[in-house]
Amino acid sequence: MLRRLSRIPVRLGERIGLVEPDVEPLPPGAKPPRHTFRWDLDKTYLRTEFDSLKDLAMSAFETAADKQAFPGATALLRSLRQDGNRICIVSGSPTQMRQVLAAKLALDGVEYDEFVLKNNLKNILRGRFRALRAQIPYKLPAMLRSRIAAAAEAETLFGDDAEADAIIYCLYADLIAGRVSIADLERVLIASRAYDDDAAWCLELARTVPKAPAVRRMFIHLDRRSPPMGFRRFGPRLVPVFNYFQTALVLYQDKVLSARQVIFVALEMLDSGQYELGTLATSVQDVIRRGRITRETALQLAAEAHEAAKSGALSGRSDLPPFERISEAFRERVRELGAAPATDSHQEEPLDYVRLVDEEHEHRRTRRKQGVD
């Protein structure tokens, strides 16, 4: 009875978003996950508009059913969850939205192992107003804490081009791989204008986190349609994508997804009404042209997808043309390129994260002046 009573303040705190549930470590003796997939939520999984105050307000009052996932993202998440993989969601949405966001994920049939939201109420109560917009001092420690709780052999990260996901994810990847020192991280946290205690906490986590070059791939969903070339400096591990079919194609090449799972992503995109076979085929061409998958991969996928289609992956889909025609449309897109080589010129130099953070701040200041942010 006393124990239950003592939990009331905590439960009330969680309800109003003042207290965040702890990240549960793996039980002793449990096998570590093979692969952890870390997802951002807004503009990565969910189509969220908050470029104006009006959009922000509307977003806060949307029900779970109102919220829209990007076509293909749900099928992709469900596929990634298989085989005992770990799904960790870290989002900049406030903790007060936990209920509606969790309901949306449940509606979509998405299971997850972690769901971290930003405690902005606590920031406001403490007068920490610059923490409201800051991303690095929030997301980076959240990811480090998550890895400490359950360190997987491999990780794949999913973000978007609206804010600093590319910087945060590369920083995280290099930190856990030992390519960024604690001293470097300290400089980055200063440039990010982290509060002293938040910075100290982040540095402590960075010292403790299990080190390994675990991050295999990072996907940046181009919600703002940023030029893909702008992400070249982050190296070939980071792939900007226009849609989740492109993500699925790269994951197929990485042998993370099967052909059947790629088909399911494509079918969800077609069913959304926002994509046609032609736009999916053009998406294949785009990702080949940018050197993110090879023509051989595309041909191999076509062959395996054909087998999957024969074994029933497209059963009940009388709305689609015969698979041979679909396959030919995709092959034609590849042939259209002629013999032109892919534009695969990625830089491999170490990243100057302090400079990147400064540029990001400048970019956001410019956007605010233009009235876009």
């Binding site: 030029p227 893909p228 849609n243 046609e276 032609g278 061409q285 785009d286 042209r289 032109a340 534009t343």
Partner: protein, 350 residues
């Protein structure tokens, strides 16, 4: 989804400005796919530098292109895989729905005419051009009138001129959202009997139509006044008129520059008028119109100005999309069929 094929290598500022314009259009148009035809390795390097929708812009390789100063027939014969030829082929094969090019005009017209059939009832295609006028027209307050033919062919019979009138009217209705565009024949006098035999016969035929808002003949000086929304003439005359109008515009600009340099009083006067001049420039800026159509074929072709920048190309792509969405070719074919039916009834004495 409408597929708009863009000759990415045609034009003074190709391929950079063409690709930029197409990239911007891919973000603005949700119901269209843009197919850039040109050197895939060059286009593949340009696209990632630009904001665009990678699911709606694709590249179709063409190894060569026709230069702006090449003789059209010779160039097409020597370069069968030139970007304009490949682009026209794509549309002809049903892999594209409309074509946009800022390249060599003669080569563009020839490439299309060799591959695309004419619409039922249309005897000749007509190249149109827009010209800024004093009067505004339509729901969009369009300051441009349409002149056709300006050079697709040299001569025109009365039947051709009637066809041009139908096509120009359909285009103006759709693109300028002008419900009843005023259609006129260009002649050397406003009387019905003035002009060559073809113009007189066309006048007689057009007066009988109810499908078109035919207002009769106009003279050259009526063109810039905007008396008519659609000005119909033969290709030879149209081309001369167009070049003269362009020459007048250039001369006015040169005179203004001369005046600006020559005397302080004139310079002060021009400065006082500068905001009005800027306003006039923005109103009559052809870049905002993108291009003008080659009418009469089964597919829309928008010919953009050779000096087109990204904005002009983007607008040309949007015009092509509008032509597809509004079923321009279908409307032309339907009106031609109605006219033909009436002519047959008249001939049989009904």
């Amino acid at each position: 989804m409408h597929r708009i094929v863009v000759d990415a290598m045609g034009g003074d500022h190709a391929p950079d400005e063409i690709v930029r314009g197409a990239a911007e259009a891919s973000l603005a148009l949700t119901g269209a796919e843009i197919i850039l035809v040109g050197d895939a390795s060059v286009l593949g390097r340009l696209l990632p530098r630009l904001r665009h929708d990678g699911a709606r812009v694709r590249v179709h390789h063409a190894p060569t292109f026709v230069e702006m100063d090449e003789k059209p027939a010779e160039a097409l014969a020597a370069k069968p895989e030139a970007s304009i030829a490949v682009a026209a082929d794509l549309v002809a094969r049903g892999e594209g729905d409309a074509l946009v090019s800022a390249g060599n005009t003669g080569a563009s017209v020839l490439a299309c005419s060799r591959r695309w059939p004419l619409l039922e009832g249309v005897r000749r295609a007509a190249l149109a051009s827009v010209y800024p006028t004093e009067l505004r027209r339509g729901e969009k307050e369009d300051p441009f009138s349409l002149i056709l033919d300006v050079g697709a062919t040299i001569d025109a019979t009365a039947e051709d001129l009637v066809g041009f009138a139908v096509m120009g009217s359909a285009y103006a209705r759709l693109i300028s959202q002008n419900r009843r565009p005023r259609v006129a024949l260009l002649s050397n006098g406003s009387e019905a009997g003035k002009g060559p035999a073809s113009v007189v016969a066309a006048h007689a035929a057009l007066v009988e139509t109810t499908e078109l808002n035919f207002i009769g003949n106009i003279e050259g000086l009526d063109i810039p006044r905007g008396v008519a929304d659609v000005v119909v003439t033969s290709g030879f005359v149209g081309n001369v008129v167009l070049k003269m109008l362009e020459g007048v515009s250039e001369t006015v600009v040169r005179l203004a520059r001369y005046a600006h340099k020559e005397r302080l009083a004139w310079r002060l006067g021009l400065i006082a008028l500068s905001s009005a001049i800027d306003q006039l420039k923005s109103i009559t800026d052809w870049q905002q119109y993108g291009g003008a159509p080659l009418l009469g074929f089964t597919h829309p072709f928008i010919k953009a100005h050779g000096r087109s920048n990204a904005r002009a190309i983007g607008n040309a792509v949007k015009v092509a999309h509008k032509a597809l969405a509004g079923n321009l070719c279908g409307n032309i074919a339907r009106t031609m069929a109605e006219l033909d039916e009436r002519a047959q009834r008249r001939a049989s004495g009904d």
